[in-house]
């Protein structure tokens, strides 16, 4: 049978102020009917440019297809070179014969139109349906993507739907005209892990039912392992390697593919290991060498959090009085030992970040105790708090936003030292140099501005800044989430190395179970502001005892094509709202100990 798509030596260029930039070059691949082709690569690899070229949408981003053919087999069996097609023909192809879904479900729907209108306009355009026929078909589509109460959804606006539901709507829109090819550009990247599982399962089912081909763009090797029939690995605008999924994972030929795979933490690969371990990165000999000596763990408690509760007022009414409260953190208790890592894991909105910020009192907790070395943080006045913060530092998620774009890195790393008059003049310079060395950044970066660094380098600067005051505790709030996988691995290794060298403790806040398994000594699973399960890492991963922990773990894609998880429909319990009326007194958190140090929330 004829291939649906045959891309031949595609080259796309972008005109910028600085001259012409090549987006992709020499890209060739084919997609057979009913096949899922995954294009995988890190940011800047050109994977999205490739998919946008197939739709000829790349032009709207300032790109031009300067070379190559994009042959697409149309419904009538004829072949169309998309690269040369007229705007009118493309209008017939787009949305009709090729459907596309995008990364951001939150912005992929027009906020001012109803779901119905957005679902039906394509149908009326391409299939010539009447309004009522289109509405009927839209209803069927919503049912097929398993949206509850579809009739009601049609009348709703996008903002009234959750992110997962929106992505289902976007998929329904892409599927509306029963295309022969579905292009999915990072369709689950912005979603929580359970919703990602649902969406991946949905795409698999629809593909099976409709016999269409899927071009799946992602950066996540674990997702590739779960979804792909064949894989295209891209790097810097070129194809590195192509092959069936099993071959790519089991027997990669190219060094780049190997390095990429080595950087991916696989859920379950830490089974039976007592302590966190740095990742074995290809080409990172330092990491390998430093692996052996370990500091003996002491059981000295650094941080003790007791019954921490943080609530945000929801203001309303004429007098802007508090009408309700968001119970962001509810009766949370845990301890972190010196030199150890506690990972708080959970999905968005579970309160893990609020918990981290409450401990530094960047937001004010409502009640509870925070003791660092026995010193009650909540009892401190402002000047004392300022001093106490020297012991606790924070690393943020977004490496682009956590550094001031207008200051040189030297100044930003030196700032904490200057704040406490810890160093000045040559001494300050030496300390800053030392910090740059520590985080393995070239010394001449000191004179640079943040934009001159890559994401991983910036995160190193953020770590250096956090280290400046010799803190005992670092709260790392999704510190590696925004990084490409190879960079993520390097930063994780750096953090673990610093822990070993300096005896740091981490409160590691993350949504990524695989990463958490790598770095944590202790793991706390948060859900709706509470810790539902907490204990040693092994206990949590080997013997998940709370239903939520179990569903979370079952939803994690595993970077191994041999264990495919998302075949049937998956449906997880949606997270309920943490907003309660004023005066609502939630029950105390009561825990059952299922094993030594392993506690599970009752009820």
């Amino acid at each position: 049978m004829k291939d649906i798509v045959s891309v031949d030596h595609l080259r796309v260029e972008f005109a910028t102020d600085g001259g012409t930039v090549v987006g992709v070059q020499d890209v060739s691949f084919t997609i057979a009917p009913g096949e899922t082709l995954c294009v995988v690569g890190e940011s800047g690899s050109g994977k999205s440019v490739t998919s946008l070229s197939l739709m000829r949408l790349v032009e709207f981003g300032g790109g031009t297809i300067t070379q190559g053919a994009l042959n697409f087999t149309r419904a009538d069996g004829s072949t169309l070179d998309v690269a040369a097609a007229s705007a009118q023909v493309m209008g017939q192809v787009r949305g009709n014969e090729i459907g596309m879904i995008f990364q951001e479900p939150m912005t992929a729907l027009n906020p001012v139109f109803t779901i119905e209108r957005q679902l039906t306009d394509g149908l009326m355009l391409h299939k010539g349906l009447s309004q009522s026929e289109a509405t009927e078909r839209a209803l069927d589509l919503l049912k097929s993507v398993r949206i509850p109460e579809p009739e009601q959804r049609l009348k709703q606006y996008p903002h009234e739907l959750s992110g997962g539901m929106r992505q289902r709507v976007v998929i329904a829109m892409a599927m509306a005209c029963e295309p022969k090819l579905l292009i999915a550009d990072e369709p689950t990247t912005a979603l929580d892990v359970t919703i990602q599982a649902e969406i991946l399962a949905l795409i698999n089912r629809l593909k099976r039912e409709n016999g269409m081909a899927v071009l799946f763009i992602t950066h996540d090797m674990a997702v590739v392992a779960q979804m792909a029939d064949r894989v295209v690995v891209m790097y810097q605008g070129r194809i590195v390697e192509t092959g069936p999924v099993a071959q790519i994972f089991e027997n990669p030929r190219e060094d780049y593919t190997k390095a990429l795979l080595a950087a991916v933490p696989k859920l379950g690969e830490m089974k039976g290991k007592a302590a966190p371990e740095r990742m074995r990165l290809i080409g990172d000999e330092a990491a390998r060498a430093a692996q052996a000596p370990r500091k003996p763990r002491t059981a000295k408690v650094l941080l003790e959090v007791k019954n921490l509760t943080t609530r945000f007022p929801v203001k309303g009414g004429i007098l802007r009085r508090t009408m309700a409260q968001v119970h962001a953190v509810e009766d949370v208790s845990f301890t972190i030992n010196v030199g150890e890592t506690l990972a708080l894991v959970g999905e968005s909105g579970c309160g893990k970040s609020s918990c981290g910020r409450s401990i530094l009192r960047l937001i004010e907790p409502t009640s509870g105790e925070i003791l660092i070395n026995g010193n009650d943080i909540r009892a401190l006045n402002r000047p004392d708090l300022r001093r106490a913060r020297a012991d606790m530092q924070m690393v943020f998620q977004d490496p682009f936003a956590s550094l001031n774009p207008y200051r040189r890195l030297r100044a930003q790393v030196a700032e904490p030292l200057q704040n406490f008059n810890l160093a000045s003049g040559a001494d300050l310079e030496a300390r800053v140099l030392d910090l740059f060395d520590r985080v393995r950044l070239p010394r001449d970066f000191m004179n640079r501005f943040p934009h001159e660094l890559s994401g991983g380098q910036r995160q190193r600067v953020a770590i250096a800044r956090a280290l400046a005051l010799n803190p005992k505790l670092i709260v790392a709030d999704e510190a590696v989430s925004a990084l490409d996988v190879s960079v993520q691995a390097q930063v994780l290794n750096l953090m673990m190395e610093l822990q070993e060298d300096l005896g740091l403790s981490y409160l590691f806040i993350s949504h990524d179970m695989a990463v958490v398994e790598r770095v944590a000594h202790q793991v706390g699973v948060m859900y709706l502001g509470r810790i539902v399960e907490i204990g040693p890492r092994a206990a949590i991963f080997d013997n998940p005892s709370h239903p939520y922990t179990r569903s979370l773990l079952s939803a994690v894609p595993i970077a191994d094509p041999a264990t495919r998880r998302f075949e049937g429909d998956m449906n997880f319990k949606p997270i309920s709202s943490p907003i309660f009326p004023l005066g609502h007194q939630p029950a105390k958190s009561q825990y059952t100990q299922v094993a030594p140090g392993h506690f599970v929330l009752q009820g």
Partner: protein, 271 residues
């Protein structure tokens, strides 16, 4: 590296350089009397070899007036904008950074001022302080302050929520230092862009004030005063409006084009 000197930017810079040169060199080469010397035999003379840009209702040479008026106009506009920034910056910065009660009080005040016809404000200022250049600057500066405070507040609010501000706070930086080191540099580009736009409005505001007798006092020349004076003779002596109008238009055009360049120059990202 981004090429920040685009053709547009280059035109802007050249325009401003010419205008600045005229404003600075003009008074050195042209005797100050040239702007006020009257020729009653050539009142409202159209442009000719004798008077390149024509003359006004008192037979004064429009070319000399527009050149010698440049300094006055720019002086007033720049000082007034600088003043409104000097007033609006702390107001907006504090309001946006601290938020809450302080913000509420300050913004209520700004709302109140914004609801006032600027003419009433100007009239009061002129009546209380008397008409001269300083008071013109004060009147325009005060009238512009709430707008700037508004814009600066919005920017400060945005920046105050950035993680690097939180990071600075976490590392023990005091509020004052955060405002100076982190918030200020990040809102400055927006302030500068707004400032360049305000400059254009300030030049015109001076024209509006001379409606009330405030502003530059005759016989001295300023673009605003000249445009105002052209009001009653636009149909018979259009050059009296076109000449100063073109001067303002070119300055505004230059400022706007230059504003973009300036923003790029200030932004380390574009280097």
């Amino acid at each position: 590296m981004k090429r920040f000197l685009t053709t547009k930017g280059l035109i802007g810079i050249v325009l401003l350089l010419i205008i600045a040169a005229v404003a600075i060199i003009g008074p050195m080469v042209i005797p100050p009397d040239a702007a006020t010397a009257m020729d009653m035999t050539a009142r409202r003379a159209p442009p000719s070899m004798r008077h390149l840009f024509g003359t006004d209702q008192l037979g004064r040479d429009m070319m000399f007036r527009v050149i010698l008026g440049a300094r006055t106009s720019l002086e007033i506009a720049v000082s007034a904008v600088v003043m409104s920034i000097a007033l609006g910056l702390p107001l907006g910065l504090i309001s946006g950074y601290f938020g809450g009660f302080v913000d509420n009080v300050l913004m209520r005040l700004v709302d109140t001022l914004l609801a006032f016809p600027a003419l009433l404000l100007a009239l009061t200022i002129s009546a209380v302080l008397g008409p001269n250049i300083q008071n013109t600057i004060i009147a325009i500066g005060v009238a512009f302050t709430p707008y700037l405070a508004r814009i600066i507040r919005g920017e400060a609010l945005r920046v105050a929520q950035m993680p690097y501000v939180e990071a600075a706070r976490a590392s023990g930086t005091t509020d004052g230092m955060i405002m100076i080191r982190h918030v200020l540099p990040n809102i400055l580009p927006a302030v500068i862009v707004q400032g360049t736009i305000s400059l254009a409005f300030a030049i015109l505001a001076e024209a509006g004030l001379s409606f009330l007798g405030l502003g530059t006092q005759p016989p001295a020349a300023s673009w605003g005063l000249m445009i105002q004076a052209s009001r009653d003779q636009l149909d018979i002596a259009p050059w009296t409006a076109v000449v100063p109008g073109l001067a303002v238009a070119l300055t505004v055009l230059g400022l706007n084009m230059f504003g973009d360049v300036l923003r790029d120059i200030l932004d380390p990202r574009s280097k």
